[in-house]
């Protein structure tokens, strides 16, 4: 959560999105999933910051950028407990949890080396079959992958 009381290690946003409570080892995965490396907006990334919940955490602040739910929810695979704060005029106007979407397009790499998606230039598609236990199924080879075995492209 966005912690006003303890003061911010990174500067406050006027308008934009804060993604908080990212596990430190997943921060750059979140950056890559959301393609933040190609974004023109002003961007602040903090990592290994102190967190009462996680011990340490990562945080990303993006100026003047608001994500569609189907875009931001992609990070649920790596940071299911991340929190989203929408900032307008220095105020948190909305807090959202990350929700795993029903379908995941072209983010996961299929773990099956014989899957067509690992042998031809095919965008991957996975269906989320279990949101609690995080299990996804490849649209193509129909293999099931558990969270701990999920690899990003």
């Amino acid at each position: 959560m966005f912690d006003h009381k303890k003061g911010l290690v990174v500067v406050a946003l006027e308008n934009g999105t804060v993604i908080d409570h990212i596990p430190p080892d997943k921060l750059f995965k979140v950056v890559s999933i959301l393609n933040l490396d190609t974004l023109d907006s002003q961007l602040t990334i903090g990592n290994n910051l102190k967190s009462s919940k996680l011990g340490t955490k990562g945080i990303i602040k993006i100026t003047n950028k608001f994500f569609e739910p189907n875009v931001i929810n992609k990070i649920a695979l790596v940071a299911p407990n991340a929190k989203l704060n929408i900032i307008k005029n220095f105020q948190v106007v909305e807090k959202r949890n990350i929700v795993l979407p029903d379908e995941i397009h072209d983010i996961i790499q299929c773990g099956n080396p014989k899957c067509i998606t690992n042998n031809e230039p095919v965008p991957t598609l996975f269906f989320v079959v279990d949101k609690d236990d995080v299990k996804v199924k490849c649209n193509y080879c129909e293999r099931m992958i558990h969270q701990e075995d999920i690899k990003m492209k």
Partner: protein, 301 residues
């Protein structure tokens, strides 16, 4: 994606399965019908196959259609590095229907997405072989008079055998009871046992092919040498899963032995003349089941 395609047995409901089986029975009674007149069907076999290709091509010929295609990917542009997408895009502009076997898992689903004509999956790697499943169901229904409440014994390679996995999924609509008989290395994967649990289907696991007195269907599969890391293990188990004529003595009169073929040594040739041996008729049923699938996919019936 092309809506008519037949890629995975999981795409078919119970009603749909029963409908296809009823059409297959019609074709068995009357196999030569000109429903595919003026239609061209492409059979693309990127991987060798005897029965599947010949029975699909027989089905097309009996329906009065014409066949183009190949049975060896080395003679095609894919050996020059052409992508599957390009091959399918091209062929789907020539033919009215594509029937494809491919060594990669998921190739059929992908082909159905890029093709503008329906695609029938004739086997995609280790994943699915749904026309085999329907001919298995047809054979079970025909020999037992029903698909409901049967005692089905699956024997051999239950780990990698795609036919047994698809059979479990298809039979799950009909309240079966399964007995899985396999060596430790080739046991039924957890995923399919969990599937049975989720559907309330009873199953037990046995490591030896011994007591088959309660079976209605004995579904044999090949234990492949190349599946074993330790060849000593293979030598130990290979004969434990061989069915011999003598073993059929105290079995139920309605028992039938099925096998997707090719068989190597898991069914002794002395079983062949037993009236309970059904694997060659099963292969023959493949033509009727495939006639039904083709007509259904093309919306001809």
């Amino acid at each position: 994606m092309n809506k008519g395609s037949f890629v995975s047995i999981s795409d078919y409901s119970k009603e749909k399965i029963l409908k296809i089986l009823a059409i297959a029975a019609d074709f068995e009674a009357n196999p030569n019908r000109n429903l595919l007149e003026n239609k061209v069907v492409a059979t693309l076999f990127f991987e060798p196959s005897t029965r599947t290709r010949l029975s699909f091509e027989t089905a097309i010929n009996r329906l009065g259609g014409r066949v183009i295609g190949f049975s060896d990917a080395n003679t095609t542009s894919s050996s020059k590095g052409e992508t599957l997408k390009d091959t399918i895009a091209m062929v789907s502009s020539y033919a009215d229907l594509i029937i494809m076997r491919h060594p990669l898992d998921g190739a059929a689903r992908y082909a159905s997405e890029v093709s503008c004509v329906p695609v029938i999956n004739a086997g995609d790697g280790a994943n699915q072989h749904p026309s085999q499943t329907l001919l298995d169901l047809y054979s079970i229904q025909k020999t037992q008079g029903t698909l409901e409440n049967l005692n089905i014994y699956l024997v051999g390679d239950l780990k990698y055998g795609r036919t047994v996995h698809s059979l479990i999924i298809a039979m799950s609509h009909f309240n079966p009871e399964f007995t899985f008989i396999a060596p430790e290395e080739l046991k039924m994967p957890e995923e399919y046992k969990q599937f049975c649990d989720s559907k309330g289907i009873k199953y037990r696991e046995v490591s030896e092919l011994k007591d088959i007195s309660k079976a209605d269907i004995l579904y044999m599969t090949r234990v492949q040498r190349e599946r074993f890391l330790d060849l000593m293990e293979y030598e130990k188990v290979k004969n434990v899963y061989t069915l011999k004529n003598k073993m059929l003595e105290k079995t139920k009169p309605n028992l039938r032995v099925l096998h997707p073929l090719p068989r190597v040594n898991e069914i002794d040739t002395d079983v062949d003349d037993n009236e309970k041996a059904y694997y060659f008729q099963q292969a023959r049923n493949g033509v009727f089941a495939r006639q039904a699938i083709i007509c259904d996919v093309l919306g001809l019936i």
